[in-house]
Symmetry: C3
């Protein structure tokens, strides 16, 4: 693990909010449950981008959710962590009516994933606007990954 | 198949509503087309949770959609059914403005999946609020699964 | 490549709008970043179906986004193109309040995928209504595919 990874990726990751698990994997492929900008058990931000939150705050929320997602993978795949490669990021942004710069918000997440994992962090991306998210979170991120054999 | 499975998972599953198929699989991985709370060819519920439907009714709709999804897998993978393992559940809840307890609704689906398939039913989960769904359905579920070799 | 494929699938495909890549693949499985109805660097349609766009226009937008998605796969997997098989199409339709015929819009995409790739084009499908999409696009399509060994 690089020093950056140690500093930024949290060891304490959010626990599932229902009867599901944080990460599943099979046949080399892995799925992380939807991650939110949570710290110490609660959402660090709530509300919608373009309304109660600025694009810049939305980006910060996206970074935090991305780090939580990496924390989940590292916790679930401890020994395989150096062989983890990201495949896909789905980003859902709670958006005010008419707000369409979801890409700007999600760049916060994409940048931190590529910065921390370099080539292994490159991912396909989908961006969506939703009117609201569970718990009034401004962002929800879904990561799909691969573990090289 | 256990008695519970026989009783609860429908043999008659909804047919695709367009030029697509209910289930695809390759390399061990399988995808189920979005499933709705349909019985005998029509939606058993319509409308939005937090508006025309209560959380409790939303949960019932989620259970029905989850059973349809399992029915689709069992029909498509008949002989491999005992080796099917769930990986991921994406749950979309048609939600009234301001309604944010999508997790409460989707627990209905998660609970029945784990109850019927036990360890093989444990899944990663993503929860979303959408303003409406095809046909005015209150819920749409998307299952991703793996067939152990 | 068949004559139809040559004519319809674009060689010039949209470039990613942020720090991500158009296609990732590993272990035979591939993911295409969300595709929009873009031509020559800009959206050919904007707005919502059931409001500024008719269902028929939405279908045309869906066809264009589907062809872009195929173009991305063909570009990324050049030599493997004849062994590409589609698995899943996620279709997001920017929808006016109360508009619920997302299936009708997405049939445009499904039809062209099956027409061009025949059996290899058959896919599971999920359909969603969203209030808006990045850049005010009326449609976003996400393709998951498999490359036969």
């Amino acid at each position: 693990m690089t020093p950056c990874e140690s500093l930024l990726i949290p060891d304490q990751v959010p626990v599932p909010l229902g009867n599901y698990v944080a990460v599943t994997h099979a046949g080399g492929l892995g799925f992380v449950s939807g991650q939110f900008p949570m710290r110490q058990g609660r959402l660090a931000w709530t509300g919608r981008v373009g309304e109660t939150l600025s694009v810049s705050q939305g980006r910060q929320a996206a970074v935090m959710a991305a780090l939580n997602a990496l924390g989940q993978i590292r916790k679930a795949c401890a020994h395989a962590w150096p062989r983890v490669r990201l495949l896909r990021l789905d980003g859902y942004v709670a958006s005010a009516p008419g707000f369409t710069d979801q890409a700007g918000v999600l760049d916060g997440a994409s940048d931190v994933l590529v910065e921390l994992l370099c080539e292994r962090g490159r991912h396909a991306r989908t961006a969506f606007a939703v009117p609201q998210l569970p718990g009034d979170s401004p962002i929800e991120l879904v990561l799909t990954f691969f573990v090289d054999p």
